[in-house]
Amino acid sequence: MVIKNSIRFITAMVFMLPMTVYADELNGADTAWILTSTVLVLFMTLPGLALFYSGLVRAKNVLSVLMQCFAIACLASIVWMVVGYGLAFGDGGSLNKFVGAGKVLMSGIGLDSVSGTIPETVFFMFQMTFAIITPALIIGAFAERMRFSAVLWFSVLWLILVYAPVCHWVWGGGWLSDMGFMDFAGGAVVHINAGVAALVAAIVIGNRKGFPQTAMPPHNMALVVMGASMLWVGWFGFNAGSALAAGSSAGMAMAVTHISAAAGSLAWMACEWIRNGKPSVLGIVTGMVAGLGTITPASGYVGPLGGLAIGLLAGVVCYFATQYIKRGLKIDDSLDVFPVHGVGGILGTLLTAVFAAESMGGLGLEATMSSQLMTQLIGVVATIVWCGVITFIILKLLDAVIGLRVNEDEETEGLDIVLHNERGYSL
């Protein structure tokens, strides 16, 4: 009797052993979540960002923004497949500190290829959606005046020469990840990159005709809010998906992301209410974007209090940054890409070192706070310098070869008619 019960007991124990005995094999839950996250992040670009940006420009340019977002999504996808993925995540051999190589046209990636606990195709796709949205973010800087062909060429070259290398440094086994640089979901890779490129582009291309005296208000705030709402929802895929697993890390990333979004919104709203007497809907959604962009690098490392602090700081800092760039420096970064994504990305990347510490409610730092802060600073500066310089060169080259900007008459008439022979609205 004792032996029978012992056998029953042991059998029961064996069957209750956790199934994750084998480490680097396919996990269905992880795969399902990252498949879903891929959908969410693509949704951020199409139509989230597309709507957000298109509502912000004047009616005569609404289609040009939609066209640029859509075309960049298509183009970035192909570039990623052909060469981008390998440059970012491949093995660069002797140059692997700086750039990857291989996997051209997805060679070597088959049904059975695995990346961590998910199929490599899924990892490839998830990362592709990041490679799509980053160049799409930049178009806000030169909205309403850049030629479509120049936008396309710029996006391709920028993806290959700026995005892929920086992505490799941080996530692809490059020198920043070797240093212990912490960027959970793309503070440097996406937001600092896009923000700095935007600032450089706005300066190189020049201000819109009539800026800043002429009124150029958003033509459709409803589209802006719709787009912004989609960004919030999609960002859960962006940050929580960057856990690359369905579990507690994703859960905490989702929580801190959401708290930061809400806090950033309210902080910006408060700033406007105090300074202007009235809170605006453009303000509250921009605060949301600031909160989300700033928490991005920290999202997998900080706790809820860190999320709250980062969100509140993001709302306030990015609010003042926006005022300074447009009204102080009079740089026409038309849709405020640098003050929101660039400044937010820098702030969040640095604050990661602070709020990841257990003393600040974070999930723990491997280094000391001050040494991690130094590492973060190095990564921030490296990204700014590489992105800034290469973006400048690409733009100057394109300007010389094909010309970047439409002429004054074309700019006045509107890009939709001039570049696309279409009207956004036939009322």
Binding site: A215, M216, P217, E272, G283, Q323, R327
Partner: protein, 112 residues
């Protein structure tokens, strides 16, 4: 014959239309216009970019009337469109040379 044009505040359109109807004015033409006289515009603020919007939306009503109806039409419009605040608008009366009803070919007072 006179052409009476009145630029009024948009939300007063229904009141003016009823008032004119009450004194027997049958048809009118309405256009949406922008303008300002002494009424100040407003400011809009988008992420720190401040715009002063000078032009205010108004509605312009045009009616063709007989000369002897002029005073009652002016009175009707004034009473219906007035709020007592700056921006109520103006009435312009000009001479009308000729009117033709397209369907029947009637001219002059018959066509009013």
């Amino acid at each position: 014959m006179k052409m009476v044009a009145a630029v009024i505040k948009p939300f007063k359109l229904d009141d003016v239309r009823e008032a004119l109807s009450a004194i027997g004015v049958q048809g009118l033409t309405v256009t949406e216009v922008k303008g300002f006289g002494r009424q100040k515009g407003h400011t809009e603020l988008y992420r720190g970019a401040e715009y002063v919007v000078d032009f205010l939306p108004k509605v312009k009503i045009e009616v063709a009337i007989d000369d002897d109806a002029t005073d009652s039409v002016i009175e009707a419009i004034t009473n219906a469109a007035g709020t007592g605040k700056i921006g109520d608008g103006k009435i312009f009366v000009s001479n009308l040379e000729q009117i033709v009803r397209i369907r029947t070919g009637e001219t002059g007072s018959e066509a009013i």
